[in-house]
Amino acid sequence: MNEKVNELPGILILSHGPLCTAMIESAKMIVGETPNVTALPFRAEDDLEQYGLRANAIYSAMPEGSIVLYDLFSGTPFNQMMARCGGRPIDGLCGASLPVLLDALSMRECMSGDALVRALEESAHAGIVNVRTFMQDTLQV
């Protein structure tokens, strides 16, 4: 791994089940390789504490300015990350989606940490489109 990749802020994605893993696979179809991105699916058989500890350990090993994307606010992956982080600040966003991940993958090359998460808040909103409204406004249907 070269120096540039090592300095790139990491992205940890936590989800109920395989959503986080599948999101990375889907993103690869569009952007190619995704260095410094880790998925940690929470499975029904997983121990809660061990999951939280593992998530925190992965995040701790990532470069400064790394972020965490959670599938669901107040869901188990989020709750366990919070419960085991020891109160240290963690930059992250709940509501992980393909639009958010795609922007995170590119924007992390010029921003990190809280600034990156704030930019991704806009991406999250922009990635949600009411199709009926779109058709009425754009296609004059």
Binding site: I30, V31, D103, S106, M107, C110, A119, E122, S123, A126
Partner: protein, 88 residues
Amino acid sequence: MVCETVKIINQTGLHARPANVFVKEAISHKGCAISIQKDGRQFNGKSIVSVLSACVKCGNEIKIVADGEGEEEALRDMVAAVNSGLGE
């Protein structure tokens, strides 16, 4: 600030993969803000979600705007990328 209008030549417009190529090129110009204008609206050229929101089809014209450090070079590179088909 410099700008130039270009025509999209990609058969299926600016869909995800060419949009990603566009954004990658824009992000490589770190000190320079890159945006696109279409139908009176402005979109962030460094966000794939924003670029896709422009709904750019084949044959559409977009105005690329570069503002900041190295803006002339940035605009030249962005225009070249679009005219080369953005990797397609």
